[in-house]
Structures are given as structure tokens and as C-alpha cells.
Symmetry: D3
């Protein structure tokens, strides 16, 4: 667990987006910013038990089930960064229909499309 | 998608549990039973885009986020059957704390322990 | 809206259960008890725009979607009291799988069975 | 259960909207599209145990409780198509306040108004 | 509990916003409007067991946990009106990350910032 | 933020329960245990912006809204330890009916009663 939080965050959100993402968090709330860097990325995501792709797909599954579209868009891109294909992400989101219902799956697929348009167009 | 629903279900819940599981579903509701065999396993889980381990871990992530303890117990065992280690399942459940809150992660870890006690003692 | 709350409550939970139900609410919290009699039954349920059966089935649909098993058991019985058949209640609960996911539908069908065993055995 | 999925879907979303709705689903995800036609409409909604109006009002109740505004707008219109009056839909949404809280009821009534403006203006 | 509902509502939403708020509710649904005045403000909020600041902060905590952004904006302002500082509101919202997950805390802080910009700029 | 996590935890769960609580967490998951000590208590709860009573009542409000009964029982006792009266806790839980619905308020009041029986009998 020795990898610094910002480095772990960069692997998931993209090194090119790190400064912008951290600036946004800092102006939102400096404490929340610190929690996300030190706890979320510095602790939870820093472990090496799971590979980054599995981790990102599980996050996609959770965010879609909880209808958290904003963060889902970020993690759809993170999953692609970690090597997941669009079709693998779609397959996770279809499975959301079984556990959280069709509206959540539907919303998530719309969020995925918009996020991948930005990602692949970048 | 040509693998029959019962065969797909057997891969996840265990061939030795298939008849008992289906009997339970049949007495719960014959229509729901049919939906689970034909749609959930015959369609959604039948695809080969995701390997069984990733699929089961994503299901674990979703069920824990939604606090569905009964089905979570079944899918913790399914994840082990598909090759996930206890530590990998734990890592997914720790990530639940970030997205769905600590109570959901806590509940899920308690469910996991009980499910693995039954699984490893079987 | 002139029908008194206790009378409306009696139509849904059964006149023979009214005193016991109100005693339970009174010892739980006298204010919540008053809110349920005056607001929930005296206002919301007192309207005559919807017939009692449709109202009870919509309540069953909501409680199942929200995984509120305790109150769902009460309203499964209320739906029967208002003329809904077991098969109609089952059909509503199957629909829950589409909107809230299969685990919620599954849990609700198990709650329904237990509630109807008590109701029909009474 | 012999009525084809597209015909059942047309009864709820309106025959005049069927092609547009299916085109949207197809570009969102062809698999989800197939699930909705074959499973949701071809199976769950195809049964004749419940009349269409009761079914649509229960769907309105569920979607409002789950705060799924996009699909709620579609099913408010479906309920009108199946013969529910605006006042009946309102009464279901008032009941949402009791089970899912006032914010969900409030959001749902706002969604209903916008959906009925489009429906009655069509 | 003798304080009239509109007076209680005025203490939380601001006397200068009362008429506009009530007009909005009236056009949304006259019954919901009456429930909010008579039950929510005339009963639940009318009690003097809790001071207004504690009550408003608990409401902020609940609305943020349930991801109800529209009403959260109103109650962030109500909390300020009842004497809570911005930093106290932030501290409640950071605690949301623990119980409902980081996405809910993040969304709530963004809603808070927008609500306070309007409040302090008024 | 210099107060150690275990000391902060002791203030909320009771010094006499600290070892037992930590033993339970350790056997549940050593990582989750560490997160709760270092992050939840060592960071989030360690701030002095909010007094302990307000903090505990907000936690009660959140846990009740999310229907997390296990942790709610712990925090009902924590609220009493921080000086909240039973009547103040009840008032928060009545407010839950408004935002998360009556079933959540009802469940929470039952959990509160059981938790206070254990607390006052201790």
C-alpha cells in the first residue's frame, strides 16, 4: 500500500486529468479532496489484490446500481483506461438490469455512451 | 447464447445445488422461476464477453451495494466457484464502503463470512 | 374526505386487527401513531379517487420496490381484503423484477407467501 | 402469453411511438432492446391477470418510489393510454409520499405534469 | 403544536419565499400542498423538542443520503437561516460519505455550493 | 484533527465497548477495521466543527433514512451518550417519515426502542 494516492488516482482517471480533477475537488471541499486522495485512492484502490480492470468494472457495476451517473461516467472511462472493452462494460451494465432493474441499466448505458464519446474523441 | 439456462445456472450456483435451487424457485413462483432460467441465466449470464469470475465479482459488488444479503450469500459462493479467492471478494466489499457507505460494506462482509463458512465446510 | 382515519385503517388492515395494530403503534410512538391515523389513513387513504384494490396493489408495488418486508406483509393481506386475488398480487410482484431488480421481487414473493399463509389460515 | 412483445409494448407506449422507441433502444444497446421486447413486454407485461390500467398505475407507483423520472414520464403517459385519469395518477403519486417520502412524491408530480403536457398537447 | 403550518414553513424557507413556495406547491398539486402545510410543517416541524438548527441539519443529512438534490438546496438555505454556518453544513455532508458513500457526499457538496451562492447573493 | 481514532470511537460507542467493538471489526475484516479507526473516527468524526450530540443525531437521521438497523442501534446509544434525550431521538426519527417514508421511520423507532432498552438496562 505504498503507492501514493495521487499516483493511484492518475491510473484510474488519467494522468492528463489529474490536476483538473484535483482542482475541482479542492474547490468543492478541501476535506473531501483529502479523503479521496488519502483514503479512497491511497488506501482502498492502492491494494494489489485485484487488477485495475476488475476493480474498475466492479465500480461501474456499483455506480450503475446506485444510479450515480456523474461518477459512473468517470469510471466508464477508467475501465477503458484499465483495458476493458466497450463490449465488456456493456455486459456489466446489462447485468445491472437483473439486480437493480431496467431503468438503472438503461440510464447507465446512456451515461456510458456519452462518456465513451468523450473518451474516444479525446 | 446457445448454452441452456439450467447449465449456466449450474456453473454459478453449483451443479449439486441446481435441483434444490430450482425446486425452491418453483414453489416461490413458477413464473419467476421461468424468468430466472430463461432470461437471467439463459440470456444475461449466457454471454461469453465476460469470464465467469469477473461476472460473479460484479454481481457481488451490485448485491452488496443494494444490501441484498440473501442473494449476496449465493453469489459470494458463486464467485469462489468461478475461481475468486476470499481475499479478492473481500477487496470488492471494501470498495463497497466507498460507493454505498460503510454500513453496506460491513453487512456484506458479515454475509460473506457466513457464506464462506458454509461453502468451505461443505 | 370525511371518513375517520380509524375507519379507513380498518378497511385495509381488517377491523379485527385494528385495536391490536393501534396498540402496537401507540407503544412504538404516540406521535407516529397519530400521524398514521390522521394523515396516512385520515387524509391520503381517505380519498375515493382510487378504489381500495387498486390502492392496495399500488402500495404492494411500492413496498416491494423499496424492500420494506414488514409493511409489505400487512399490505399483501390488505390487498386480499380489498378483493385482489393471490395471482393478481403475484403479477404485481413479478413486475417488481423489471423495475427494482430480481432480488426485490424474490424477497417480496417470499414475504407474500408467509403473509397469505397467515391470512388464509386465519 | 402468445401476444408478441412489440404489440404489448405498443399498447403501453403508443403504436405511434413504437418505431421511435425501438430505434432509441437499438442504438442504446441491441441486447437491452431485445431483453425489453422479449422479456419485459413479451413475458412480464404479456400476461392477462392484471388489466392494463392497474398494471400501468403499479408501474407508476414503482418508478416514482425509485425516483426514476425518465421512465416515469413514459409510464404516466402509458397509464393515460390505458384509461387512467390525471386525478387517478395524482392519487397514486400522493401515496408515494407515505412510502418513499415527500421528495419522491414531489419530483414525481413534477414529472407527471411535464409528461401530461406533452401527452395532451400531442 | 399550536403554531400554524405556514408560520413554521416561513421559519425554514424564509418568510420572503413563503408565497412563492406555496404558489409552486399549489400548482404542482393542491393536495400535496395541503399535506406539506398541515402535516409536514403543521405537525412534524411544529414540535419544540429540537431546536431549528439541529432539525435543519438532520434534514440536510437525510436529503443528502437519499440524493434528493432539489429539496437539499432548499434545506441548506434553511440550515443557514436557522443559524448553521457553512462549515457546519459541510461537516454534515462529509459525514454523508461514511454512511451513504462518496458519490452522495460529492453531489451534496455541489448542491450546497450552488444553494449558498444563491443564499448569500440574495 | 490530532485526537487518535480509538479515542474518538470511544466517545461515541462507549469506552467500555471499545475493545469488544474493535475485536468484532478485526475478525470481520482487518482492513475495514483500520479504515473505521483511521478514516471514519480518526478523520471524519475527529473534527470539532460539530458538537458530538449534533453529529450523532445526524448519523441517526442518515442511518434511519437508509434503513441500516444494525448501525442505527449503535448510534441511538451514541446519541444518548452524547447527551441527546430519548425524546430528541424520537423527534429525529419522526422527521424520517417525511423524507424517507413511514416504513423507514417505523423500522427505526422499533430499532431505537430495542437499543435504548439495552442502553438503559446496562
Amino acid at each position: 500500500m505504498s503507492e501514493p494516492g495521487p499516483d493511484v488516482m492518475a491510473r484510474f482517471v488519467g494522468a492528463e486529468n489529474l490536476d483538473r480533477g484535483r482542482d475541482y475537488l479542492e474547490q468543492l471541499d478541501p476535506e473531501l479532496h483529502r479523503y479521496i486522495i488519502d483514503f479512497v485512492y491511497g488506501e482502498v484502490y492502492a491494494g494489489d489484490v485485484l487488477d485495475g480492470k476488475t476493480r474498475a468494472l466492479c465500480t461501474v457495476a456499483m455506480l450503475a446500481s446506485l444510479d450515480q451517473q456523474l461518477q459512473l461516467g468517470v469510471y466508464v472511462q477508467a475501465a477503458r483506461r484499465q483495458g476493458a472493452t466497450e463490449e465488456e462494460i456493456r455486459e456489466v451494465l446489462r447485468q445491472v438490469a437483473v439486480y437493480a432493474g431496467f431503468p438503472s441499466a438503461w440510464n447507465a448505458l446512456a451515461t456510458m455512451k456519452a462518456a465513451l464519446d468523450r473518451f474516444d474523441g479525446a
